[in-house]
């Protein structure tokens, strides 16, 4: 039987063997929610980069530049970290370079996996379908916040486990922990996500609408996958 592990933060990635497995990277507030939204709305491809300078370089080559540090848009960039910025008609068919505090870095840390997906509540069912078909062991990598564990990414991990539980078995206690968090709160995921320190931090920026959108399940029916160094759907 294939297994599902959960890596609660990129700081613990050394505890997981990635070779031969599918890594699902999640950063609900808000990088992977933005990535899924962009690709569902016609963006051609998204390149995750670690540093702001790399995004600026790609900007010169015609990429739209997306980036956030500490929850705020990088000066001079086209988009920050609100999913509503990823729906514009001017982005259709365009490539985007994205650098975020946690999400982009988590994607880059997944190097060595058989495949890398990007997940969000927005495309939960589509990702579940893909994973069931692929029939491989999975590591869900929660981007967290600057290396710390967060509620919303852990909750997504629990939701994914809940969907896959009949076909796969959890491996390691982090997976049990994530699943328990989801089981105890699945009727009101927004409320428990609102308890997250990240949500509280962002609330000061007036982005409540973003947070509600990021917790919406199955808004889009796409799977997001890393091909070469670009995310595509």
């Amino acid at each position: 039987m294939n297994s599902i592990e959960v890596c609660l933060t990129p700081d613990l990635i050394h505890q997981h063997e990635l070779a031969g497995k599918i890594v699902v990277v999640v950063d609900i507030f808000r990088a992977t929610s933005c990535i899924v939204t962009g690709l569902a709305n016609g963006v051609a491809a998204i390149k995750p980069v670690g540093e702001i300078d790399e995004a600026l370089e790609l900007g010169k080559q015609g990429y739209a530049m997306a980036g956030e540090r500490g929850g705020k848009k990088v000066d001079g960039f086209d988009m920050g970290n609100s999913p509503f910025e990823y729906m514009g008609k001017e982005l259709v068919g365009k490539k985007v370079a994205i650098s975020t505090t946690n999400g982009s870095k988590a994607i880059l840390k997944s190097d060595g996996a058989q495949e890398i997906l990007v997940g969000a509540f927005l495309n939960l069912k589509a990702t579940v379908g893909y994973l069931l078909d692929a029939s491989r062991s999975i590591v869900i990598l929660c981007a967290g916040w600057k290396g710390t564990v967060n509620i919303e990414d852990t909750l997504y991990a629990g939701a994914l486990i809940d969907e896959l539980a009949e076909e796969m078995e959890t491996s390691g206690d982090s997976a049990v922990l994530a699943h328990q968090l989801f089981v105890g709160n699945h009727e009101n995921t927004e409320a428990i996500a609102g308890e997250s320190s990240h949500a509280k931090r962002l609330a000061g920026f007036g982005v409540e609408k973003d947070l509600v959108f990021c917790m919406t399940e199955n808004e889009y029916n796409i799977v997001v996958k890393l091909e070469g160094d670009h995310l595509v759907s």
Copy 2:
């Protein structure tokens, strides 16, 4: 208001500022349960050491030697990691040197804190009383298993938070996660602890009786504290 943080594994200790705070180290299966049991049954003091060689050196000075690696007693040592080995009359008034896979190392990593306590379900209420009187911010350090998160230590963190919740506020999402795990499972902590990979690993050694004992609340009414380099009650 004082705060309570949870460090889910020693591998994440760099994310926590310990200065001025009380660290409560927990390794339910089974180091801190053994330490509490020993001190409650008349052991004079327990010195946590990192390596087996250090325990051997102290053995030459008259210490009883306690230690486990991978769940099994170290050859030639007086005690392994079963709490029932820490109740013997021959230990009354004696000093013990202890080296375990996770617990001793977590205690040594807490260096820099204002005070270091050792906690277990066995002395939960006594520790709660001490922490309420001390009125300082707290970091609960879960020893985990070789750097990974585990259920039983997280569950203890959640239980401690539940007792302190009226007087202190949680800080960080790991504390919310631990509290949620406890709230969802407090009526049957033994069952969820049995789901832990550590419990499953130990079950093969025929130590079910140990695991049940380690999940028993308030068997002993002592507080265990590091004074100098020895744990005392």
